[in-house]
Amino acid sequence: MGTYAVILGMALATYATRALAVFLLSRRLTPGIERFLGHIPAAVFAALVAPPLLAPQGGFAPGLPAVAAIPAAVVAWRTRQVLPTILAGMGSYWLLRWIVG
């Protein structure tokens, strides 16, 4: 396969994953499926939060990022905003790295 054929193939494969459900689920669904869809956001967020913090190399090995996430979670709870959460997490992480050395 040529370079651009591979890139086009990747583009089509990626677009398929993104567009398929958006177009197929355009009609009203059964209550069970609607409930399933309603829980996806919390499941997605947790699945994107946990591995990089608790298992950065694949195996369970929480380190400084996991510790820094604790004050970040408190700030998220109090402010319900992304930017203060990031600032609290990054600030704590840099502080911890400076302390640990």
Partner: protein, 228 residues
């Protein structure tokens, strides 16, 4: 009004764009080192627009065949099928061209920002578009910069900039935990994602975690509805 919603979506990406830019720079550098031309490096970001899949493709370049690279990109992005399903009810009745455009720009980050707005009651296709565009612009401009500057770019891992991504999702997750069922779903998803990370590569652990946790949430909610 519509322009304001687009700008609000664009502005919502500001905290994440530095992280996306750092990774776009690294992708640009690695793609050139893997032997892709400047044009091919930039074209991949313009057409594919999927960080994890692009990094993996560049890592496989020259060592694996094209079909395997395409298949890997598909598997890595399968989680977007679930995100598309979750946002689909909010896009019901929108014209096909809006669905097609929004689906093209759907990433972990822009989905997360858009669905949070929909759940808070003030989501819109314009906000979603603005969020998609902010990340698309950041990703492509930084790809170009990385591909041109090459080895001049320093390793962003030194600063822990990759932490911006889980912290963003943490900031979006926590407001959903006021609902007990949301906490159960989040715990189940986090546990499955971490427990299977080592033996389900290519982000397949995320797909499993999302399906299992959403299934548990739907089952509990259905059981609760029947007992009332």
């Amino acid at each position: 009004m519509r322009r304001r919603a687009i700008l609000a979506g664009l502005a919502s990406t500001a905290p994440i764009v530095p992280g996306a830019v750092a990774f776009g720079l690294v992708y640009g550098v690695l793609a050139r080192q893997a032997g892709l031309s400047l044009a091919a490096t930039v074209t991949m970001s313009l057409l594919v627009f999927a960080g994890a899949a692009q990094f993996t493709a560049v890592g496989m370049w020259g060592q694996a065949g094209g079909p395997l690279i395409v298949l890997t990109a598909f598997i890595i992005n399968l989680r977007h099928l679930l995100m598309g399903a979750s946002v689909a009810p909010h896009l019901r009745g929108q014209p096909g061209r809006w669905k097609a455009l929004l689906a093209f720009g759907l990433t972990d980050e822009s989905y997360a920002l858009a669905i949070s707005r929909y759940l808070a009651g003030d989501g819109s296709r314009e906000f979603f578009l603005g969020a998609n565009f902010g990340l698309y612009a950041g990703w492509n401009l930084s790809t170009l910069a990385g591909a041109v500057l090459g080895g001049l770019v320093v390793d962003p891992g030194r600063w822990g900039i990759e932490l911006v991504f889980p912290l963003t999702f943490l900031g979006l997750l926590v407001p959903l935990l006021t609902w007990p069922l949301g906490t159960v779903v989040a715990l189940a998803s986090g546990v499955v994602a971490v427990a299977t990370a080592a033996w389900l590569p290519g982000k397949a652990n995320l797909v499993l975690a999302i399906v299992v946790a959403s299934g548990i949430g739907a089952a509990l909610e259905g059981w609760w509805a029947r007992t009332q």
